[in-house]
């Protein structure tokens, strides 16, 4: 039993950047959004690495990365991502910022997935991050699954273990540092990944060259996606404001510091 693994993931501003909200024509946006350095959405990136690892271990499997995002920025990010693991890119050209509806993004992704030639839905594993680093709803994958009729779904996944009969075991994060363990009879299924357990793969220029051969045409072919936030009114979009007056305790004996901390804990 092989898998057709479709990883859904887009780009987000580099987590180390300072963001500033501005009012755009279609609602809130980020100041200089197109200029901000971007990265592949971190949890989706983990999903991609897990997908590649699974495909490597289950012969006959294949990985697609399906992305709704501004194609110029996607191209920049792909120069880096392409060096990590083998995949085929499918692009819908549209916004990928925080202030778009999960339902719209899911609808665009569904269209893109439906359009993949050679995709066998009986073998489909839909991967992605369990939530994005932009909108953070944790909703897109579930909606996409529903649109594609896939109702075996898992979120906060850290582990997928396939068995020879096509079934697989999944570990999902739950409250209190625990895991819910389930066995799914097989594809099709939706899996929203947390970090998983794999380190980021090192760059491999050969893989990069192979990937880029397909990535450039995919970007050129990208269809526009109608993604927005119709029906939502943002009354305020702000940076968390409050700065604390930090009291700095220096050159103080450890005993005094410890006593103060203990009083605070008990207080």
């Amino acid at each position: 039993m092989s898998y057709h693994i479709v990883v859904c993931g887009s780009i987000v501003p580099d987590p180390l950047q300072t963001l500033e909200p501005v009012a755009g024509p279609g609602g809130p946006a980020l100041k200089n959004e197109m200029m901000l350095p971007a990265v592949l959405d971190p949890w989706a990136a983990h999903a991609l690495f897990e997908a590649a690892n699974l495909a490597k271990n289950v012969p006959g499997s294949k990985v697609w990365l399906v992305s709704v995002g501004p194609k110029a920025k996607l191209q920049q990010v792909m120069m880096h991502v392409a060096q990590k693991v083998p995949f085929e890119l499918v692009v819908m050209d549209g916004p990928a910022g925080g202030f778009v509806e999960a339902a719209d993004t899911a609808a665009a992704l569904a269209k893109a997935v439906e359009g993949i030639t050679g995709l066998d839905k009986g073998k489909l594993l839909l991967f992605g991050g369990w939530s994005s680093a932009s909108r953070g709803t944790g909703a897109t994958l579930q909606i996409l699954g529903e649109l594609l009729g896939v109702t075996e779904q898992f979120q906060g996944v850290d582990e997928l273990r396939p068995a020879d009969d096509g079934s697989f075991e999944v570990k999902e994060r739950i409250e209190g540092g625990g895991y819910l363990r389930s066995r799914c009879a097989g594809a099709p299924a939706v899996l929203g990944w947390a970090t998983g357990n794999l380190p980021e793969p090192p760059n491999n220029p050969q893989v990069g060259m192979q990937n880029m051969r397909l990535i450039m045409p995919a970007l050129q072919k990208a269809q526009p996606a109608a993604v927005g936030a119709a029906g939502v009114a943002y009354k305020a979009v702000e940076l968390p404001g409050t700065r604390r007056q930090t009291r700095i305790v220096k050159d103080t004996p450890v005993d005094d510091i410890a006593r103060e901390i203990v009083e605070w804990i008990k207080g």
């Binding site: 953070g136 909703a139 109702t151 409250e175 540092g177």
Partner: protein
């Protein structure tokens, strides 16, 4: 007029959890603000005890989806149950706790109902006769207040943002909803939870101890002391029953094959790509980072830090107190003072 449904599930002990009781408070306040009725929808193996515990909460009706198939948390059966509960209640607004179980299935339920979902909301009020939610974007780097035209509208509320409802027990009369036939292809095998004495993630704890990579770095004597670090950290958790969080750098060290603290996993990571805990007090030790890194304790009310560096980025402008001192020495003494 809006019709509000409060949707929740009992925990394994049959009772509603704290997050569920907080969401009930949010739903009640919303109903009061809109002058609209609300009903309760519960799903689970058996929900009578949970319903009874909130029987006097003022709900117009109690809908129940229960049975063996709903005893465990699984997308296909949960989504079908929640969909049936929402339809039975004719809900235009659904308020639910953002538990792992409901966070997984409610977006799919919104799709089935032709509705929309806003998850992990940290505020829910009424303004000009309409619900107004606040939620965070870009991983706790931006907060927005928003209203929505679309109905039904499912709103999940994040833990620790509302005061939990309490003490409204009685006996609730349940209306069973018709559940569609679902043949799940997923079998729930069980829960892997750390043994009680190894449990270091405690969402309900008063206090969070955040450990940073500094605990594993070379110290003044040119050596690193992971054993001592473990002793201080675990000793503190043992004495205070605090929850443990970690910076990304520290949990990532294991991937790089460095000497690490074996009790730390990715589940401990707090911050942009980790959890966003909401404890009353937080003590960050040996952590360093600029604004984007320190979201891990954005929702901690009282914050203190111990770091050798007076310019510590976790602390400057973000903590109430920064102790510029050796955390090994400070925590040893703190543990001694806390006793056994």
């Amino acid at each position: 007029m809006e019709t509000i449904l409060y949707l929740a599930h009992p925990e394994d002990n049959g009772a509603l959890g704290r997050t569920a009781l907080e969401a009930l408070a949010a739903a009640k306040a919303l109903a009061a603000g809109l002058g609209a009725p609300f009903s309760v929808g519960l799903l689970g193996g058996s929900v009578q005890a949970a319903a009874d515990s909130i029987a006097a909460c003022g709900a117009a009706a109690f809908f129940a989806a229960q049975g063996e198939a709903l005893a465990a948390s699984r997308y296909s059966t949960d989504a079908a149950a929640c969909e049936a509960l929402c339809r039975a209640a004719g809900a235009t607004l659904v308020v639910a706790p953002a538990t792992a179980r409901l966070a997984r299935c409610l977006p799919g339920v919104a799709q089935r109902l032709g509705g929309r979902v806003d998850s992990n909301c940290t505020g829910l009020t009424v303004e000009n006769g309409a619900p107004l939610v606040s939620r965070w974007y870009y991983r706790q780097r931006m907060v927005a207040a928003q209203i929505r035209e679309h109905r039904p509208w499912i709103i999940t509320v994040a833990p620790c943002c509302f005061l939990a409802e309490d003490g409204q027990g009685g006996s609730a009369s349940l209306q069973a909803v018709d559940l569609p036939a679902v043949t799940p292809r997923t079998e729930v095998l069980g829960i892997d939870a750390p043994a009680a004495d190894e449990q270091t993630i405690r969402p309900e704890a008063e206090m969070l101890l955040v450990a940073g990579a500094g605990w594993t770095k070379k110290q003044a004597d040119g050596q690193s002391h992971p054993d001592k670090a473990a002793e201080h950290i675990l000793g503190f958790l043992d004495r205070t029953k605090a929850s443990l969080g970690s910076s990304k750098s520290l949990v990532d060290l294991s991937g790089e094959g460095q000497s690490v603290l074996p009790f730390l996993t990715h589940l401990h990571q707090v911050g942009q790509t980790g959890a966003t805990p909401r404890h009353k007090k937080g003590l960050a030790t040996c952590c360093h980072g600029e604004e984007p890194h320190v979201v891990g304790w954005r929702f901690i009310t009282e914050r203190r830090a111990v770091n050798l560096d007076a310019g510590c980025g976790w602390a400057q402008g973000k903590a109430d107190v920064l102790y510029v001192a050796d955390a090994f020495a400070v925590m040893a003494k703190v543990n001694e003072l806390l006793g056994k």
